[in-house]
Symmetry: D2
Subunit: 411 residues, 4 copies
């Protein structure tokens, strides 16, 4: 590094045109298309797409790809943009401003994380059937981690059994909150299992496997609802594995290396989630201000009433602080020391969803009945953000991490 | 009054056995039956009941009625219990602890308020087709107030047109958030309309009418969703009136008296909502504590971790304060001066839903993924409570009332 | 009890005239006199009274006594009013509205608690030199509990040594935060000491002694400051005991009974503190409203600006809830089961000071520079209230108590 | 600008050695000396220095100057360091960590702002008697703005009369909260007066004058207390001007240009205040953590009890966000468009003191009685920070600014 002191959290020169293209496409094309997409509810069944929905989504993807706005998350500069985390963060924020924002650019969770696992940890044989199709946006994938009967805040509890039997592994158990597994295009699961016994060290007992969604013995039990919403057509599915057989070649990296893989997957993923949350918050504040200026009560625009100025000022200030903290965490990540970056990521994992939830809640309140309904994107944003306070570790666990790191300085 | 000083907020002697019977029935019979009811989702259509759902609900109602636990809201002592507001409040809290709690005792909104309107303001001819069947729990009703295109926080904006034409009135316009109007049993609407012109005083321009749900020209457009949940089979419906004709005899009290009727309807209704919200909060705290003691992480029960003691103490304390404030408001109501009671009702209208939302949110967080899902009653409680911050006046409007009343003391 | 259900939290019939007399005297006489008292700062030294200060204070006391408004805390009805806790609480609130409010009626801390100890636990010989003069308001007293070098949140840590030697006990150690010990009229200390060894059960190792302030070996080291204020002429003194000798007859009740005495002393004392805190809050809200109406900025009275309505509504609502909770705790106390009352007292011990601090802080903000200065009573109220979050157990310890009691229901 | 996108919020290369020198001197020399300084209270009078206090302060200043750590605020690179705002902000944070931190480096308020006014807006004749001595740390200065009888949140209300009379101006009126005017070294005041009438535009009616503290007719009435603390020996003085005569040459820039001067003065000053507030917060968190690890209760270090992890995590996170926002505001300032920077400065003016107050309050609570006393720097930090929520515009006014700027985007 020529200048060790530089902590540039700005939009880089090379990112500016890309950022502008993404921002404009989200605002002018993807956002209105998303509204139409969501309103076109299928008449028959839940986890299906209507013809119109398919057209909308594939149309957006084709356009984005034509414009070269595709797979931004690819960090090597040969095939992708070679963006660093700070740069990608700026794009993630824009993608967070419309329902189909991330998918349009083939940058949606959990696919980006899954593609990274395939890219970085898998053999060519493992990649072949899935990675090219994922990179093309042809199929989708799911990540099966959480289980119904264990405290997921401590991942060493994961219990799905994985027993070697001849050339195969045999899996038994249940997973839930498998996000995206309801999507009819979802073809491949990455599954965390318990492969080792008590004799192994605690973080060497688990493994990750590639399991095709069509494998016999897999049964999708139901869609988990989020505040009554089943998130169709993606879904957070509850899945049962009964004597599911996969060949030994399905094992990623080798037995006992599940945590090693998970670790590399989570850091950037959390930053992306957080920056999309900031995007949600920005969009909500925009909607809030528009309503505050256009709606009248007691003879004045809402903006002029009660604490609305204070609400707006607080929202703006909180968003700015949360964004800066996310960018700082991204910059720490780019500095190359994941251990040093960890408490920063824990900090934003708490801050970003909570700030965004507050802003969205204030916007909901400003819209009244409309705010809680399907007539604005606010309610959907809120339920999505609310899950982020639990996914990838609940708030309390991340605060604990930050505190332990802080106290360590004084021991 | 023999003792002007007494402010008895306790459970009265006569209420004790009734209260115990309601409490026990809610806990032991209605709560488990509610879970079964909610899980038995109809396969065909949304706003229908399954045979099993009907059995559960009608079974509970029959049992309650057999035990003499029915229509507690009837305030005259000849046909009803003659409970005062403080007494009814204690029962409302218990009913708030299970999904079918209020309906089992024929005490659910908006029917209680609508029955009161029928009882107090309607002629025998108006009562005959509806009131007995409502008192029997045979049909249900809806209250059509809010409209999509006006700021409902200021009810003088209500705009549905009502034009006299021969022996009839002809209604045109749209209503939304007509709670319960999706229920197949919903037979009668009470509808607020704009009947008078600019020449009338502001609070004499509106009227209330009895409109049978089956009247030609009424079209239920859709169910409003609450954070993605359509609240089937009750629903908050969006309804269009096109040249809907009702006879002049459908008018309640007379033209221009809509606000007079609405006024009498809202006060007690708000107290009931608030006490049911306290019931929600109590139930959520119970669930929270059970989880905190039974679930382990990092080798300890959750109760012992982080700020969970503080969360529990805060929840308990907030609930006690909110309940006492509701009881005080109910006591003010019973004192017989609605003007004096008004700021107290505004105060609890803000406090009770917000306290309950906080407690439920903490419980959700304690349950993790399960908390936001259909596997606990928490998510459903939360969305219901969230609507209370908007229904019958948003928080900001009620705070404004409290502040103006406070400042008046110093002018 | 004839009516087990009655929970009368109102002003009792018999209290009404007393309450009115106290309220009016505080507002019309004591409050303005307090301002004059505080402004008349002595030129020479800190812990002295000016002649004018003496006149003011003794004048108020004589007036109150003449009117029969004296020693309300005496709970037997022969010599005192025989008020129950709920009744006394209403008076304590009024006394909290002026700096000299409590002392005027001979009801100030720590004297009321100390007089109760003398009254209830002491022999006639022990009472004779102090109790009559305290009841007359002639002298004042201090309660020496907290020590500089131990965690006072756990009182079993108290360490001042007390060694029997012939007919005497010899005391060595340091005490601090001895409130009122700086007052030149302070004649007697009640002192908690460690008299027993490790062989005694944890709550039988401590004793309480009557120690005249003039005893040789006692050295007042300094006044502890509260946010820079030394609280002269009362003071929270830091005191050193070096071979302080008291006769064995100075021991209250007997060796090892210190906690037994302390226990009886704290419950009502905490309620009094909390109700005086509510009085502070009421006074602050009054000042806030007056300022909000009388001061203009940007062409409007402050009341009309920004979130001031919301601030006022929140303050009013919080005060009402805190008061009701205090009254409920007082009522629990009067029910006669101190164990059952304990969590309620812990709850208000957290709520009342925090609510009052919030209200005062908002009032300070409304007054700007004047609010933080000596020109309103607000800053002084704030520092006093801030100490209450620590005195008699910090917030965290009381929340812990409430939580443990809540969780016990579910074990 | 060669790279318009760079937003470097890091410590610059050239600042690193300076920053390290300042940081180390504050921690190792100034902080312990400050404690000694504060404990050495003068016996005679308040607004005087003891010989020991003088030695300490002048010793620190001499050392700093010898090391070339002096007048960092001088923004031209010929005589000063030529630091930009981001760089200076990093130093201000370190200076905030000890009571004598800023003064040691001749960087304390209000002198830096006053020196800037002299430097940028005054003639050589005006500079000569004051600026060199201020730059040398020989004398101090005060800034007389706020008045007792007008709403200072709207500075156009300022009313001190200034009437031209022959070669002089004659001033009459009162100022208060003249910070530092109690210091015996304070030699010069910069005074805002009302010089023009209603016929002038609102922001052209005021002027600024240089008024020597010794001018006849100036009477220091009293020290304003901050929560009972008179802030001796600096003081926030209440001053009366009776026919105070200054020559016409005392006028800065010319009649009616008071706001123009004030404007330029406030922006950077607010950033410095905010970064020193961050320094306060960092110091408080340090003290909090040390206590949490070293003190035990209920058999565990406090860190392990209750919500203390959460408190620590929240404090760390809030501080990081507030610092980043301050640095961003400083960077905006350096970009050279004060209008664009204004809402950012308003935002940090609200955030930084409030975050720091929260952290300090938590630290106070962790220390118990010691925390509110003179035995830690916490109470003094708190009262200082509390004044910042009012000085240079109260929170509400700054939030209003942020909200108006936000809403402007949507009009």
């Amino acid at each position: 590094m020529t200048n060790p002191g530089a902590m540039d959290l700005g939009l880089s020169e090379r990112l500016r045109p890309i950022h502008a293209a993404v921002r404009d496409m989200v605002r002018n094309e993807i956002a209105p298309a998303s509204e139409e997409f969501l309103a076109d509810v299928p008449k028959d069944g839940r986890f299906v797409y209507t013809a119109r929905q398919k057209d909308i989504l594939e149309g957006l993807k084709a356009t984005a790809r034509d414009r070269g706005l595709w797979n931004f998350w690819l960090t090597d500069s040969e095939r992708g943009y070679g963006l660093n985390t700070v740069e990608y963060a700026y794009l993630a924020e824009e993608m967070g401003k419309a329902h189909l924002g991330a998918e349009t650019f083939n940058c949606s969770a959990p696919d980006t994380g899954n593609m990274e696992v395939l890219e970085r940890f898998c053999t060519e044989e493992q990649k072949a059937p899935w990675l090219p199709r994922l990179l093309d946006g042809e199929i989708r994938s799911a990540y099966l981690m959480t289980e119904p009967n264990v405290a997921s805040s401590d991942a060493t509890n994961i219990a799905m059994s994985c027993v070697a039997d001849g050339y195969d592994y045999v899996l038994n158990g249940e997973k839930w909150w498998a996000s995206g597994a309801g999507d009819p295009r979802c073809a491949i699961y990455i599954v965390m299992v318990r492969s080792g016994g008590e004799d192994q060290p605690k973080h060497r007992r688990h493994s990750m496997l590639l399991v095709p969604a069509e494998t016999p013995g897999i049964e999708v039990l139901r869609a988990m609802q989020v505040y009554g919403d089943d998130d169709a057509p993606h879904g957070h599915m509850h899945i049962r594995f009964t004597d599911v057989r996969v060949p030994r070649s399905a094992m990623i990296l080798g037995e006992g290396r599940g945590f090693e893989i998970a670790q590399g997957r989570l850091g950037p993923g959390r930053i992306h989630h957080c920056m999309r949350a900031i995007g949600h918050a920005e969009r909500a504040l925009e909607l809030l201000c528009e309503r505050a200026l256009s709606r009248e009560a007691f003879g004045k625009p809402l903006a002029e009433l009660g604490e609305n100025y204070d609400i707006i000022a607080k929202a703006r200030t909180d968003i700015e602080m949360a964004r800066l903290l996310c960018l700082k965490a991204a910059w720490m990540m780019d500095e190359g020391d994941p251990k040093a970056a960890a408490p920063w990521i824990s900090a934003i994992k708490v801050v970003a969803p909570n700030v965004a939830l507050d802003v969205v809640d204030q916007a909901v309140q400003m819209y009244g009945g409309q705010g809680i309904s399907q007539d604005t994107p606010l309610a959907r944003m809120w339920t999505h953000l609310r899950t982020l306070r639990l996914a990838d570790g609940p708030d309390a666990v991340h605060r604990r991490q930050v505190a332990r790191w802080e106290l360590k300085k004084h021991r």
